[in-house]
């Protein structure tokens, strides 16, 4: 027993020796001070644990066993650190009135495919333009970005369309990149209806931040020359019934295989948007983007408001996952 004590003492002596100085970046720092937003999020967190998931902003609830279409809805919103969101800007779409006379020479876009039906001839037919990817959107002509745009566009094109003006085109894809982040790629191009060819003008790539464990993505758009100088851009799965309300008439919502919304962060303005996302759409979303959140029917929402008396805009995001 005595030997054992000595051995333990030796071990203890070794452990009590002064540690070598740690490199600066490894030094134990004081606990990080909470930002006001983090503090508020902790303050407002839902203390009812049974409604909470591990993800801030996400509450989990269940359909009533006796009435499988009804659930008691709970929420635990998380406040967004607007200052910490990535900043980027998606330029306004090309304007048809700026279209050049001839299609500029450029490398054919690799992600835009033209599917020609059997028997297609260059003098007349209708082609299907397809953007490759799981979460993609495409719009050709009348690019206002206001309403739904699908991942496929049917265009009449061919020599019969000789002399037709070039059309603005925009396609977007949302996909995980090599390092596991999500990348929104926005391509603006001119489309020639007579040759069924497109010429890329610019490509914008944005890496939005995940919210609610990847159920929503967001970035902040600050732009001196834009109509809205400071706005929050949100990317969400498509909701089956969109509800949105805007104070200040300065929001933009468009949807296809994903929803893209831009809301103003001005003092005095407010906006809210969201709605239900069906369970299989939640699955598709997570599968396509490689994220692993709680699955089920989801009610998602984002509220942004900035009263005249408040110093900064207040933005919250929330999702209620309803499970059977």
């Amino acid at each position: 027993m005595r030997w054992l004590h000595l051995a333990l003492a030796a071990f203890a002596l070794t452990g009590c020796a002064a540690s070598p100085a740690k490199p600066a970046h490894q030094a134990e720092s004081a606990p990080q001070k909470e930002t006001p937003t983090e503090a508020r999020n902790r303050f407002y967190a839902n203390p009812a644990k049974n409604w909470s998931s591990a993800t801030p902003g996400v509450a989990v609830t269940f359909f009533d066993q006796n009435d499988p279409d009804r659930a008691q809805l709970m929420a635990r919103p998380t406040e967004l650190e607007l200052d910490k969101l990535p900043r980027s800007n998606i330029p306004e779409p090309l304007d048809a009135k700026d279209a050049p006379a001839h299609l500029p020479a450029s490398v054919a876009p690799s992600d835009l495919k033209i599917e020609r039906p059997y028997g297609w001839s260059s003098d007349y037919s209708s082609a299907t333009l397809v953007v490759e990817g799981k979460l993609v959107r495409l719009q050709i002509g009348n690019v206002g970005d206001e309403f739904a745009a699908g991942e496929r566009a049917y265009r009449t094109c061919g020599t019969q369309m000789q002399g037709s003006a070039l059309l603005p085109a925009r396609w977007m894809s949302l996909a995980p990149n090599a390092v596991g982040k999500v990348r929104l790629r926005v391509v603006d191009a001119w489309f020639d209806p007579s040759s069924c060819q497109a010429s890329v003008v610019r490509t914008t790539v944005v890496e939005p931040a995940p919210l609610l464990n990847g159920l929503i993505y967001a970035f902040r758009s600050r732009c001196k020359d834009c109509k809205e100088r400071d706005s929050l851009v949100l990317i969400t799965p498509p909701v089956s019934t969109l509800a949105h309300g805007i104070v200040g008439k300065s929001a933009h919502v468009s949807a296809g295989s994903f929803m893209l919304a831009r809301v103003s962060l001005r003092r005095g303005a407010a906006a809210s948007l969201g709605g239900p996302v069906v369970a299989h759409m939640v699955d598709q979303w997570y599968d396509a983007l490689g994220s692993y959140g709680v699955r089920g029917e989801a009610l998602i929402g984002v509220d942004v408001s900035h009263t005249v008396a408040e110093d900064k805009p207040l933005a919250i995001a929330y999702a209620t996952i309803i499970r059977r």
């Binding site: 203390p47 919103p77 104070v247 509220d303």
Partner: protein
């Protein structure tokens, strides 16, 4: 209800509307310390800066000023009782403690009294059914909630003659992709108001470690007023419906809490989400009858008392519609009508009028159960018939499939037994909701067509139209619920228009108006017998409109007609003056009247 400190004890002054008394309840000890008879039914209680207690006596048209005794076990002494406008309800004190604000629900007024001597300083005309009132932190503006109409009144004390403005709280009807916001939804149940509280270095609740208190200062939300209510979409009245309402794209009724930027006087709540649970039905346990609201700086939540579900819900005030953001809920005794927050104690105190019980909610804990601390002493025999009390609970029960299939209660369309000021599509045409309180007894047959001989038949038809399975009619059983509901509908309290303060110009016109009403040349009293009665017949007055099946309508009672705008079965007239001026030769004769006489006639009808 109001809370005061008495040494180390927290006392609740409770307005016991059924007992016509003010209860002094020891919140910590859980017992009633004193009962102060009031001689009328109290609505709200306010403690003034000098310790006096103001109480609105709803059925007596008075504000009582009481003084507490030196010990809490003694009744309060009535110092004075001030006459005010019909049906005083809400009370507020300006931050400088100098003015007491009183809303009068029936008279559509905000009266301002000097707190020192309760002299009337000013009065302001408002929209229909004003209830809760609060004052902004600067004391320059008062915000007033309205049960119907979807508006918030703002009385600006800084402007000449205290300008009254309104903020429209209603939402666009349809807001889906490409939807146009060319029409607005209706609104009801605007009883309560609360405002955001900016907290300075107060100990906060840390949900991760309930035992630990955080020292943080949630600076936001700031400068917000919260107005819990219900948004209503009846649908197009002229199109037929199988029941009451035919909205196709949205829920007919859904709770909403409007958030108002108080400095800008702008409504920030414009979206309805979620309007259904993903399964397509209304979520369970929604707060369709909000009756009181308070913000707690300790929990950060907006606490709302929900009469329909007998619950207090805590909503997150950071959202643009906090009603979508439920954090917690506590079941409380039946009929919660008052909530007060004891910030120091980290608890909320709730008064439930139907069960006459006080309960305490621990805002700092994780438990979602309430502690009933005190049941009020039993009422004297005969004060409230048990059958009527039972009927009142049924009348206010939401989520009861016997009443409706979408959560609506009787009180959803008949708040306080009155009406929602909306016109509904029905199987027989557009129908405006009829006021019930004080209008049922002696006014058979029922419905706009006079199609139902008894109130029971009328109620069962209403359940059917609402998709409810109906209440069993078992008159021989003591516990018959339909009987109880009928008893309540016949006995529910109605406004008392006697002994109320009336504006001088209206008072001067009453005699002339009475004479005109009963004069054969106008012919009003021919069908509206005695003014408040009815000839119980159906008449074709040429009022059949778009969507109407029938041309003959039952003569309605004119009791309380002044507070039930809009008018006619389809709500086609906004004011009594509109009715009088537009219905000549259809319904009596008014074309020959001067403007002054027509106004005198309208003034008299307002007092019926």
């Amino acid at each position: 209800m109001a809370l005061v400190r008495d040494g180390y004890t927290t006392l609740a002054y409770v307005a016991d509307a059924d007992g016509d008394q003010l209860l002094t309840i020891d919140v910590d000890g859980g017992r009633t310390r004193a009962i102060t008879p009031l001689g009328g039914s109290p609505a709200q209680v306010l403690v003034l800066a000098d310790g006096r207690v103001a109480v609105t006596l709803r059925d007596k048209n008075r504000v009582a000023i009481l003084e507490p005794a030196s010990i809490a076990d003694d009744s309060l002494t009535t110092l004075c009782s001030v006459k005010t406008y019909a049906e005083p309800y809400g009370l507020a004190l300006t931050p400088d403690d100098k003015r007491v604000l009183v809303t009068s629900a029936w008279a559509k007024k905000l009266a301002v009294y000097q707190a020192a001597d309760m002299q009337l300083a000013s009065h302001h005309d408002l929209g229909r059914e004003p209830r809760d009132v609060l004052v902004d932190d600067a004391g320059k503006r008062a915000f007033v909630a309205h049960v119907v109409g979807g508006k918030l009144s703002v009385v600006d004390f800084d402007k000449k003659d205290d300008e009254v403005r309104t903020i429209d709280l209603r939402e666009p009807k349809m807001m889906n992709f490409g939807g146009s916001a060319d029409a607005l939804r209706g609104s009801c149940q605007g009883f309560a108001l609360a405002k955001s509280i900016e907290v300075q270095d107060a100990p906060m609740f840390d949900p991760e470690q309930p035992a630990r208190e955080l020292k943080i200062t949630p600076k936001a939300p700031k400068g917000r007023v919260f107005a819990p209510r219900v948004t209503v979409e009846p649908g197009e009245p002229t199109q037929r419906s199988t029941g009451y309402g035919n909205a196709r794209f949205a829920r007919i009724e859904a709770p909403i809490a409007s958030v108002i930027d108080s400095a800008a006087e702008r409504n920030l709540t414009t979206a309805l989400m979620p309007i259904t649970s993903p399964g397509g039905k209304a979520p369970k346990g929604e707060c369709l009858l909000p009756r009181a609201a308070r913000v707690s700086s300790r929990s950060g939540g907006l606490l709302v008392a929900c009469a329909g579900t007998d619950a207090v819900v805590e909503w997150d005030p950071r959202g643009t519609d906090p009603s979508r953001l439920e954090r917690r809920r506590w079941q409380v005794p039946a009929g919660p009508t008052g909530v007060a927050v004891d910030e120091a104690g980290g608890r909320a105190v709730v008064w439930s009028q139907f069960d006459r019980q006080l309960a305490v909610i621990d805002l700092m804990g994780v438990s979602q159960s309430t502690v009933p601390v005190s049941a009020a002493p039993p009422l004297p025999k005969g004060k409230l018939d048990p059958k009527v009390a039972k009927g009142r609970k049924l009348f206010h029960k939401t989520d009861d499939p016997r009443i409706s299939n979408d959560g609506r209660a009787c009180a959803s369309c008949h708040p306080d037994g009155r009406e929602d000021a909306l016109t509904w599509p029905t199987p027989v045409g557009p129908r405006q909701t009829i006021m019930l309180s004080g209008r049922v007894s002696g006014s058979a047959p029922f419905s706009w067509l006079g199609a139902h001989e008894t109130i029971k038949v009328h109620l069962q038809t209403t359940f059917e139209r609402l998709g409810g399975t109906g209440l069993a009619d078992q008159p021989k059983r003591n516990d018959d619920e339909l009987d109880a509901l009928v008893a309540f509908v016949q006995k529910m309290p109605s406004p008392n228009l006697r002994d109320a303060l009336v504006d001088e110009d209206k008072a001067a016109a009453l005699d002339r108006g009475r004479a005109l009403f009963h004069d054969g040349e106008q012919g009003c009293a021919t069908c509206h017998v005695g003014g408040r009665g009815t000839d119980s017949n159906q008449h074709d007055l040429g009022t059949r409109g778009a969507g109407d099946n029938d041309a003959k309508f039952d003569t309605p009672s004119l009791r309380f007609v002044g507070g039930t705008a809009p008018y006619f079965h389809d709500g086609r007239f906004a004011t009594l003056m509109d009715v009088l001026l537009a219905s000549d030769s259809q319904m009596g004769h008014t074309l020959h009247l001067s403007r002054a006489d027509a106004e005198a006639l309208a003034a008299y009808m307002e007092m019926l």
